[in-house]
Amino acid sequence: MRRYRIFVVSVLMIIFAGFVFAQEPKKLKRLNPLRYEIVDTSRLVVIYVHRTYDPVLDVAKAPDEMLLLGDKFSMYRSYGRYKVDSLLSKNPYMTYDEYKRYDNEFGGFQDNLVKSYDAGTLRYGGWIFMNSYRYTEEIPKIQWKLAKGTETILGKKCRMATCRFRGRDWTAWYCPDIPISEGPWKFGGLPGVILKMEDSKGEHLIEATEIRQASIPFGYPQKLYVKSTREKFLKELADYKNDPVKSLESVGTVAKDKEGNIIRPSRKKLFYNPIELE
């Protein structure tokens, strides 16, 4: 019932937004940048390119993602989304067309995760269709196996380690010269920052392209969330991505043409291949 209400509200919002922009496409409208509850300031930022391959659609995408490393917290988020938020905060009166252009150019996935070292927890913020979800879990204790291989990434000598994490076998290259036990996504716990990760199927490749010193305040996004658990969120996300039409129809949302006939898009599956399979 709760999901039903959320989807009805979402559909109404879309219709309203469409109406507003259809009527006044050029009108300047203040767009509010996403607010954050600041918990820490980064000292070091690592930019990664994350290549994901969807073998069903045979499509690969490679957005930029960023790891903000503070003293007590770290945050992992879309680098493109960070750029859009920065532009929006500098120019809140940008037109919707401008916003769309920036969003198309830079915008990536909207998920984010914040690790609290003191609490030992990780808060994940995700997005399904028009709704934000949030779940909290303990920072995963990954059973790493140190291996003998080395690779030079960004000119820095990295050592190899392997692990199995939630359904995938990973190979990581960490940099002992940067003694921060962090990495992309939920990964971490190695004796050095992780600069590259690759799963055994070649479906995910996360590689650092830039390390920079930057003081960027970061924290938890302030928006309305549906509280969830990791398992529930992953299931709902999988249902939606694998069959969005069915997922929407199950809560009573259907697309219709002028004659009132239900439109069922031929392409059912959306781009999706999660890091966590379990």
């Binding site: 000292r43 070091l44 390119v49 290549r51 391959y53 073998p55 069903v56 659609l57 045979d58 499509v59 690969a60 995408k61 490679a62 957005p63 930029d64 070292y117 140190l146 003998k148 030079t152 990434i153 960004l154 000119g155 820095k156 050592r159 002992p176 010269d177 940067i178 003694p179 921060i180 036990s181 716990g189 190695l190 004796p191 050095g192 070649g202 479906e203 490749l205 590689e207 650092a208 392209t209 830039e210 390390i211 920079r212 010193q213 031929s266």
Partner: protein, 862 residues
């Protein structure tokens, strides 16, 4: 089973003994200078250089290793940001309390930026700033660093195939004339270069017709939009004569309009004649335009800048207007003028002529005066549902060339050619749902109203050869095509009619040598039906086409009052497969069966002159035809994020022809003709490319080879010729010391082997070249550079000849200004000699080179 408890006991005993002998447990607390425990310290247990275990300290600063692998001599390493790292050797102790001293961490030591690459489907986006080094002059220097890209002449290749579009801001202003932009655009104006792999330029055909050719797109920096960008350059110098070099380049790019202007002139060795239209469409020229050999004295394997004494000028202007979201109008105009001369000597050994090969030698000087003009205007609409193109193209070439040849007498050959071509091309495609309708037409008129050759010698004032060629071709083709697209399957076909009206005339004029007159005219019609089907099942794309054609010709020989007519049908076949085996690996292969059908040339059966000593009979009086079978396969591994691109291409084919090339040579002249006889050519070719980009090193290795077997006739003797051609090249680009030192090394080897079975003649030519370029910035704005080119050629008469060319210069670049002083041929090599196997001959050429020259230029960028 009764021994099972005993085995457990033995196992436990062995384990306990092993633990007692080698294992130990070590613990400790890590604290700061005030003995306050520190949380999060990374503690590693290291054996030799390899960490074998690690952990991080908890809130109480404690760590503990309870493994049986701990042994004396290992190292405990403690590290944490903002603290001095410490290492302790493991001894007999089991407790290690460590104090870490605070330090100020300079985080800038960690800051580093890699060449930035993004991949989205078939698009790879390269960040130009991260690929640009200080010594790069133009965007072409960046493009050649990209994995999979090679630049040869003015053509850019990706995976061995010429690119099909060169966009600026996703708009096609330049067509095939993209070298103007690639050679002039400043990398600092460009934000990124995108490679669109397997790019279908017509959006309406996306997912309908797949292509293996790629496109490049330049994205400008935002602040470079809506304002003129470019440069003005001028300079002068000295060598054997005074030198000048001037260039102007300007470009204005906005979302709705693009304009480009390039002009220049020099006598420093840069020849513009070939820069007007490269990588463009194939056009139908009349027969006259390529009969006469423009280089009867040969051309060198060196860049023309080494041996052409030139005076050149050019101007190119292009503009594009975006009328609305889908419609664009583009115009391009280009003019170039080259007045060149060079001197050389040739020594030609004609093989397969008998026990003693015929040898011919002479010396000569060539003077070229070429004007070339082309203009193009087109209207294009390119959307997902509709495509429209109408393009009008004009080309004019005017050349007046003179050649002075000295052997036992002095001969003067003069060529005066005028060639014009006008073409209109139309294409419209409509896509409605799963149906695609495509209609097209192309009409070309090519004329050579004045194509004259005159040869005189020092024994007479009357030309002993005076020949006038005239030719016209009106070619038109009409196409209608239908495609039905289903979910994973599409089928359709196209109907196509080609009509060609041709005329040709050759007159001997006033000369001592009478070779006869040719005058032919007539038509050739080909009607084609090409049904096809294709599958697109995600990773697998397969397309098969079965063209059926019917050809008819009718030509009249006015001189002999004969009529030639012929009609015949053909069935061809082609099938291509693309299998994307994984995200990085793809396999592409194809097989084709194709027939080619001759034309007017086959009925020109009186001789004419193609050079001062070569008499040629173009046809046999019978229609030529050939059928070829060809198979090819390409395996490609590409991981752009790792900067790795490799490909292997194999191809083999067989061509059956009904005409055989025949020649008779003597010490004074050469007669080339064809005879009617079935013969076959077998070919096998291979090509391999590998490129790897690392942090500050780009390595490219490529090689290709062709092996062929063909038949020929010389001195009325049948010959079977086996040829093997191979070339291998490697390129290494490096950027060291924060871009202060750059090195560029290219090495190449070319080998040609030829064996003629009937005479037992075997030739083996090879050429090795190595180019080494180094540049460094001794102070931030001053670049010193030097390039050494080494050439080594095996000569026909035996022995090798090596050359070293040294060029060097300095460039002072500050903000928008640049001053450059450049010296060319500092080793002052004055003669270059090399040998090459061509057809059945070995030619040895000796060229007079430009001397040591120094030129200074000033450049202002805006």
């Amino acid at each position: 089973m009764k021994n099972f408890p005993d085995r457990i006991l033995v196992f436990i005993l062995v384990t306990v003994i092993a633990m007692t002998v080698s294992g130990k447990t070590i613990t400790g607390i890590v604290s700061n200078e005030d003995y306050v425990p520190i949380k999060g310290v990374i503690v590693q247990l290291i054996e030799g250089e390899d960490p074998i275990d690690f952990m991080t300290t908890g809130g109480d600063g404690k760590f503990s290793f309870n493994t049986d692998t701990v042994s004396n001599g290992m190292i405990l390493s403690f590290s944490l940001l903002d603290y001095e790292s410490q290492e302790v050797v493991v001894s007999e102790d089991s407790v290690y309390n460590v104090v870490l001293m605070k330090k100020g961490t300079d985080l800038t030591e960690f800051v580093v930026r890699a060449p930035h690459t993004r991949v989205k489907g078939d698009t790879i986006v390269y960040d130009v700033a991260s690929l640009t080094s200080k010594s790069d002059r133009n965007i072409g220097d960046i493009i050649r660093k990209l994995p999979g890209v090679t630049i040869s002449g003015n053509v850019i290749y990706y995976d061995g195939e010429p690119i099909n579009r060169f966009y600026i801001e996703d708009m096609n202003m330049l067509g095939g004339s993209y070298s103007v932009a690639a050679n002039n655009i400043n990398p600092e104006d460009i934000k990124s270069i995108s490679v669109y792999e397997r790019h279908q330029p017509k959006k309406v055909l996306k997912d309908v017709e797949f292509t293996d050719r790629a496109a490049l797109n330049l994205t400008l920096k935002k602040k470079r939009m809506l304002r003129p960008i470019g440069f003005v350059k001028a300079g002068g110098g000295a060598g054997d004569r005074m030198l000048y070099d001037a260039d102007v380049y300007g470009m204005l790019i906005s979302p709705t309009n693009q304009s480009l202007l390039a002009a220049g002139g020099n006598n420093a060795g840069k020849v513009y004649g070939t820069m007007n239209e490269t990588g463009g469409e194939t056009r139908n020229y009349n027969l006259c335009s390529d009969i006469v050999n423009l280089y009867p004295l040969g051309s060198a394997s060196l860049p023309v800048a080494r041996y052409y004494n030139n005076n050149s000028a050019k101007v190119n202007a292009s503009s594009l207007f975006k009328i609305n979201r889908d419609y664009t109008m583009t115009s391009r105009v280009g003019y170039s003028f080259d007045k060149d001369n060079y001197s050389n000597a040739t020594y030609t050994e004609y093989l397969g002529t008998g026990e003693d090969n015929v040898i011919y030698s002479d010396e000569g000087t060539s003077w070229f005066a070429n004007h070339s003009v082309n203009a193009c205007i087109n209207l294009e609409s390119n959307s997902e549902s509709f495509y429209l193109l109408n393009e009008l193209y004009f080309q004019g070439k005017f050349s007046d060339n003179d050649y002075r040849i000295c052997n036992d007498r002095t001969v003067m050959q003069s060529l005066s050619n005028r060639d014009f071509l006008v073409e209109d091309r139309f294409n419209s495609i409509i896509r409605k749902g799963g149906n695609v309708f495509d209609v097209g037409a192309r009409m070309t008129f090519s004329t050579s109203p004045h194509n004259r050759m005159t040869v005189v010698d020092n024994t007479s004032e009357v030309p002993y050869i005076s020949q006038i060629l005239k030719g016209n071709t009106f070619f038109s083709t009409f196409t209608a095509k239908y495609t039905s697209v289903w979910d994973t399957f599409s089928f359709g076909g196209d109907a196509n009619a080609d009509i060609s009206l041709d005329s040709f005339r050759s007159d001997e004029g006033d000369s001592d040598m009478f070779v006869g007159t040719n005058e032919e005219h007539g038509y050739k019609i080909g009607v084609f039906l090409r049904p096809f089907f294709s599958f697109d099942i995600g990773r697998l794309k397969w397309r098969t086409e079965i063209p059926v054609s019917f050809h008819t010709i009718r030509y009249k020989d006015v001189v002999d009052n004969r009529i030639y007519s012929d009609s015949r049908p053909y069935i061809d076949f082609s099938s291509n497969l693309l299998w994307k085996m994984s995200v990085y690996l793809s396999l592409q292969g194809g097989f084709s069966l194709r027939h080619d059908y001759g034309g007017l040339k086959d009925f020109i059966d009186n001789p004419l002159y193609t050079s001062y000593r070569t008499e040629t009979v173009l046809g046999t009086g019978a229609l030529s035809s050939s059928g070829s079978k060809r198979g090819n396969v390409m395996l490609r591994y590409s991981n752009p994020l790792n900067g790795l691109n490799t490909s292997l291409r194999l191809s083999c084919g067989r061509t059956d022809r009904n005409q055989l090339s025949s020649s008779v040579v003597s010490e004074t002249e050469e007669t080339v003709s064809s005879i009617e006889r079935r013969n076959r050519i077998n070919t096998f070719s291979w090509a391999i490319d590998a490129a790897k980009r690392m942090h500050n090193v780009v390595v490219k290795v490529s090689g290709n080879g062709i092996a062929s077997q063909r038949e020929a006739m010389r001195q009325n003797r049948d010959l079977t010729v086996d040829s093997r051609f191979r070339t291998v090249s490697a390129t290494l680009l490096t950027y060291f010391l924060s871009d202060r030192l750059n090195m560029d090394v290219t090495a190449g080897y070319t080998g040609i082997e030829q064996r003629i079975k009937a005479t037992g003649t075997k030739t083996d030519q090879s050429n090795v070249n190595c180019n080494f370029k180094i540049s460094g910035f001794v102070i931030p704005y001053l670049e010193l550079y030097s390039s050494v080119a080494f050439e080594r050629s095996r000569l026909a008469e035996g022995g090798n000849r090596g050359y070293v060319f040294l060029d060097a210069g300095m460039r002072l670049k500050k903000r928008k200004f640049e001053i450059e002083l450049k010296g060319a041929n500092l080793t002052d090599e004055r003669v270059y000699e090399y040998s090459i196997t061509r057809s059945l001959d070995i030619g040895t050429y000796r060229y007079a080179l430009r001397p040591l020259e120094v030129i200074a230029t000033f450049k202002w960028m805006f």
